[in-house]
Symmetry: C2
Subunit: 408 residues, 2 copies
């Protein structure tokens, strides 16, 4: 399934032809596997397109910079943007520049903290630069931002990802720099603080587009109204193929339910796969799904998400209140690589189900390699080990089964 | 260090110029890091060379087969060996062929059992074909053997590895087939059981060569005579660069002791790195080291080995009798990825220290990808994630420190 999704369909950014094909594909897969009540849950999604032109250089020395537009960015002027550069390490530092920032490109260059064992922690400690950097810089008069890619890899692939403009602040173009390019620019600035950088982006935001999440299930024989969700997101960034992020999660969810079906197991509770649309730049699919649940009579009993890559499973996060209730299952999940439950679970797509009462679970695979590929051209299927991917699917199937049969 | 060892030195099969360079290199590294009592422990090693010619085909259809000589194999006749082929799934099946095997090539094609969660278990269940297949086939009159590569990867890279001839049985050439080639040959045999295969190997065994393991240490301040070994093997197969097998283990051992030194920690007991020579095809370095220990007055207190790849650590195996003694350390090792100790520890190079009284530990990294690269041209540094490698080194340093300070 992951070969199909990444190879035949490819990138699936919300609103793109790839995303539309992916919706059709996953609906077809669900029918092929014999899931019940297969349907689309529509949502309107942001429709950002990268465009054809994307390049940059240290203008003063003509050294090229490897970069890509951040998702949601406006374009530069047609001939590109050329300006002096100020390097900062934080949003606060940018704000403090005050007048000095006027007319400049702000270069956010705070790296991941490599001393954090969990790379998601390192990501969380750096990505405010990507998400909020442009508006913070614009507020003090900057004309553009360059952001060090959110990765620990030491290559020069730029990593895109969502950025958001603050209301009533001028929208300025924002691009991610590959790590080598970020280091190169930083060195060059030490030698010549007055150098100029130019970069060109041709991206733009089109009107919102119609899209959909896709659901399919096995109906519980005893408590059909209590629904256990397994999910991942169907959309991906436009670079790469969204193999780990999050073709893995979608196909693991499909595979987990397929396994239960294939084994002719009849669950007490309903087990449902949700392939969420638009996790990357809006969360509209998650919101629409939660809204649908809220308006229905069904009980959102539990939800688990796989959106941390298709690597070997190591644990599940779980809503803190249910930690003690599930701890006894660790032993049964160990053969699939799950060592333990930890407190705090979920993921962006199932988070809205928490307030509706669902116990949330997040699959935690081995995480060291994830940000090497995440949101870059390198997120392709050759980085996914098929056995590791399958272990994740098996762990999800087992957990869903335990929730269904033993209850929480 | 691993870049140096795999990039500047490269393959390091016992007796090769690469192995000799690796001995010099590791001695230099130990001195550079300020280890004490750096020295070589000499041993005579088998000296097998692959030679220049290695090819094969289904002679009947001219379809090429991707293959390589197994380590220790004799050559084919100069113009190659051409014969009919019988496919078997086990040594027993080969023996039962009796007269039918005469003049034939025996094709051992039992795959890894993919249902085993631990790939080392799958390896253990298949590699008797590689190690003993030739002599078992020769005993019933076969003229050569082809063995399905010891891997779960679905590519066509042949994986070499040690084979051993039984005494007084005719020595016949033995080669590993890439998985796609093995599948191709198996399919072809179903269509035409009378097809012929030809293959040519130019490998040979030269006289034993002088080589050495290398040791270096930090001398314990309280019980210097109680020695804790951290080790991996310095030799590798000639295909690939021995990055995971076992450049990882050697450089992790070096790094672990370097970390302890760098932190200015003074251990109670002596902590020693041993870079073992000749693990792959003889174990002569391990034997010579154990013999040296046996003849000395030192106490081989504990030994840990990293020879399962440079992937993210998950556990340590430990000599069963000491399991309860170390179990309490799990919590302290968790930050390095170690989830637990399991009973039964060690590895080929430290095994001889067990009977001398040492408690044995084996680092257990995540194992799903290991046999994708193991003994093939794909065992190169790009398959090693530097962070995962470092976590292993840190886990080893921490464990060595705990053994030294708290005792077993």
């Amino acid at each position: 399934m992951l070969e199909d999704l990444t190879g035949r369909i490819g990138p699936r950014l919300s609103g793109s032809p790839g995303a539309a094909k992916a919706v059709v594909w996953v609906e077809k897969e669900m029918r092929r596997h014999g899931f019940a009540n297969v349907k689309l849950v529509p949502c309107m999604v942001p429709h950002w397109v990268r465009g054809d032109v994307e390049n940059g250089q240290i203008a003063t020395t003509k050294q090229p910079l490897s970069l890509c537009a951040l998702g949601g960015s406006v374009a530069t002027p047609k001939g590109g943007l050329t300006a002096g550069v100020i390097e900062v390490r934080s949003l606060e530092e940018a704000t403090k520049l005050g007048e000095k920032a006027k007319g400049k490109i702000i270069f956010y260059n705070r790296p991941f903290d490599p001393s954090l064992p969990n790379t998601f922690g390192a990501y969380g400690g750096a990505n405010d630069q990507r998400v909020r950097g442009a508006s913070v810089a614009a507020a003090v008069g900057a004309v553009g931002v360059l952001v060090r890619s959110m990765t620990l890899a030491e290559d020069d692939e730029p990593h895109t990802g969502a950025m958001r403009y603050q209301e009533k602040v001028k929208q300025i173009p924002a691009a991610a720099l590959g790590i080598k390019s970020a280091n190169k620019l930083s060195s060059a600035l030490r030698i010549n603080p007055n150098l100029k950088v130019s970069f060109t982006l041709s991206c733009k935001t089109l009107p919102d587009a119609l899209s959909a999440s896709v659901i399919g299930e096995i109906v519980g024989y005893e408590r059909p109204g209590e629904v256990i969700v397994m999910g991942g997101h169907l959309d991906s960034w436009d670079l790469g193929r969204g193999a780990h992020d999050d073709g893995a999660g979608v196909t693991q969810s499909l595979e987990a339910l397929r396994l239960i079906k294939k084994l002719n197991l009849r669950p007490k509770r309903t087990i449902r796969v949700v392939a969420f649309m638009n996790e990357e730049n809006g969360g509209r699919g998650a919101a629409a799904y939660a809204e649908r649940v809220r308006k229905s009579s069904e009980i959102p009993y539990a939800a688990m998400e796989s959106d941390s890559g298709g690597f070997m499973p190591r644990g599940f996060g779980v809503t803190e209140a249910k930690y003690e209730a599930v701890k006894g299952w660790e032993e049964k999940l160990r053969v699939f690589g799950i060592e333990r439950f930890s407190k705090g679970g979920g993921g962006a797509d199932i988070a809205p189900l928490g307030p509706l009462g669902a116990t949330l679970f997040g699959l935690q695979p081995e995480n060291q390699r994830y940000f090497d590929y995440h949101h870059s051209r390198n997120d392709t299927i050759d980085k996914v080990n098929p056995r590791e991917l399958e272990f994740g699917a098996m762990a999800m199937a087992m957990l869903a089964w335990l929730i269904s049969e033993e209850g929480l």
